[in-house]
Symmetry: C2
Subunit: 321 residues, 2 copies
């Protein structure tokens, strides 16, 4: 059987270009470029919780890194380095080959070097720490939104949750809609270019991973402001538009999670610049609400007639019921 050291050598060692020292010593050595600092984020994915047992290993390798890069994107940071800690029930070489291929496909697409990690036997668990660089004064923090700012969303929310609803038997999607939603669930693409373009433009930003309401709620809390969302203006995919169960649609849009889009705020006089960014990057960016001086941390959703909506499911909590 492959040893721990064989596994690292065979699947997780590549020659890097940027790190002063990469995989293979007690530590890696890295430096930030002049005028920048390192942005650091960590995520942990657990089998049966964040991905199904038997999940496609290549897609899992891609996604595990993608969800971390999404945090760098939300900070306006350019990706640079990652460490990977991996617990596996056994040293399954086919799984390792596929997982590492998916991981490095995503790493190569965004210029990320794997600089270190750990492999051990245990219940299948993936923990990744990513590092990127950003000039500190241009970092997209959560605490910069002010009353009067507009709230924007990239792409649309809810498709990954709609895929899960289909897989769980709660709805039945047609082939095209299912294929679209499964791709959104299993192969999300982090909004790295958008994060970079929002430097100096967005007053705050966050990536939508736990559900739109919960995540903009973090902006509201950190910034000490209230947020008002306009439900009718939330962008929807064709798959979600085709779903007749309006309660499910609402849950997917507002509390679905696993979207890896960016929600961000800009001052109202910056709408034109946002439109330019959308055009330059070929992205759909939609104004979905505004910041008010109401109760700090409060997120309210209004329907098309301007009536406050009652929302039961407000997002994902890993220790909630």
């Amino acid at each position: 059987m492959a040893s721990e050291f064989d596994i690292i050598r065979r699947y997780f060692t590549r020659t890097g270009k940027r790190a002063l020292l990469g995989v293979g010593d007690d530590c890696a050595l890295v430096a930030a470029d002049k005028g920048t600092v390192l942005a650091v984020s960590t995520d942990m994915l657990v089998e049966g919780r964040h991905f199904f047992a038997g999940a496609d290993a290549a897609k899992l390798g891609r996604k595990a890194l993608a969800v971390n890069l999404s945090d760098l994107a939300a900070m306006g940071a350019a990706p640079r380095y990652a460490t990977l800690a991996l617990a596996l029930p056994d040293a399954d070489e086919a799984w390792l080959a596929q997982f590492s291929q998916g991981f490095f496909d995503m790493a190569d697409a965004f210029g990320v070097e794997l600089i270190g990690g750990d492999t051990t036997r245990g219940p299948r668990t993936i923990s990744i720490t990513v590092m990127g660089i950003v000039p500190p004064q241009l970092a997209l923090r959560r605490d910069g939104a002010t009353a009067g700012d507009e709230v924007w969303l990239s792409g649309c929310s809810g498709d990954a949750a709609l895929a899960l609803a289909h897989l769980g038997g709660r709805t039945r999607l047609g082939d095209a809609a299912l294929a679209h939603c499964l791709a959104r669930l299993h192969t999300p693409v982090p909004c790295v270019a958008l994060g970079l373009a929002l430097r100096g433009l967005a007053s705050s930003a966050i990536d939508v991973s736990d559900g739109l309401l919960a995540d903009v709620g973090h902006i509201a809390e950190s910034s000490g402001v209230a947020i008002e969302l306009r439900y009718a203006e939330l962008p929807r995919s064709r798959a979600l538009k085709g779903c007749a169960d309006q309660s499910l649609v609402q849950e997917c849009l507002l509390a679905g999670g696993d979207d890896y889009e960016l929600a961000f705020t800009v001052s109202p006089d910056a709408s034109g610049r946002v439109a330019s960014v959308a055009a330059d990057l070929g992205l759909t960016l939609t104004r979905v609400g505004s910041i008010s001086a109401g109760e700090p941390g409060l997120v309210s959703v209004y329907d098309a007639s301007g009536k406050l909506m009652q929302i039961a499911n407000r997002g994902f909590d890993h220790f909630g019921s």
Copy 2:
């Protein structure tokens, strides 16, 4: 029940001094001091593999960080930051209070700021990434040993393994010996001060976590040299000296692991400086072997009569049998 966000707020958020931005945003923001780079290392600890189910949570919190700081020590890096990813079967508040207390005790002892992380439900698993700073030209790498260098070891190896041998019923320690060995197993102290003192002195270094033979083997491989250890000169604790089972003693000393001592090499004319470091820090540092120009990666052990020893168990492999 406490939510994921409550847990982070209650147990894992403290005001830091060094990080530009700590826990609570998509990423933390950190910078290295002028003239230094960041040293980065990641470890993953799994219940049932690296620690027992029901292990004392405070000691576990201490040790989880300590084993990571040991990697920084082996690089000659000064500890600065850590991220913590934690999977837990449930949000057990007593466990969290103890674990975080232990973690922060260790963090405070070595000036480490917790800058981010992730908590999720899953089989109990702890993944920590630590960051320290070191002037790049002074980093203690594995690849700098040259023929003629001496091999040194801090403290002694084997006590943690002897504790495990007792717990597994393979030997029976007296009360004092058991207490000593259990402390070495459960509350290791990373050799941070020694790592800093070895900057510019050691030609290579590694921390002893998988067993002395396996770990100095990494120096031999990376440096392209052979290592000759003198078995009779390996330092032994009183507990290990009191053990009559010489086969067990040999296994503990050479292949025990979980020691978190530093093995390092210096040029032969630097023995006096090593002795000064030992005196300054109040540490026992012992010359245990030498580097030769033999087969790269080979580690040989010689007995007191100069005879080559045959070693069956050569160290810990997380995917070995």
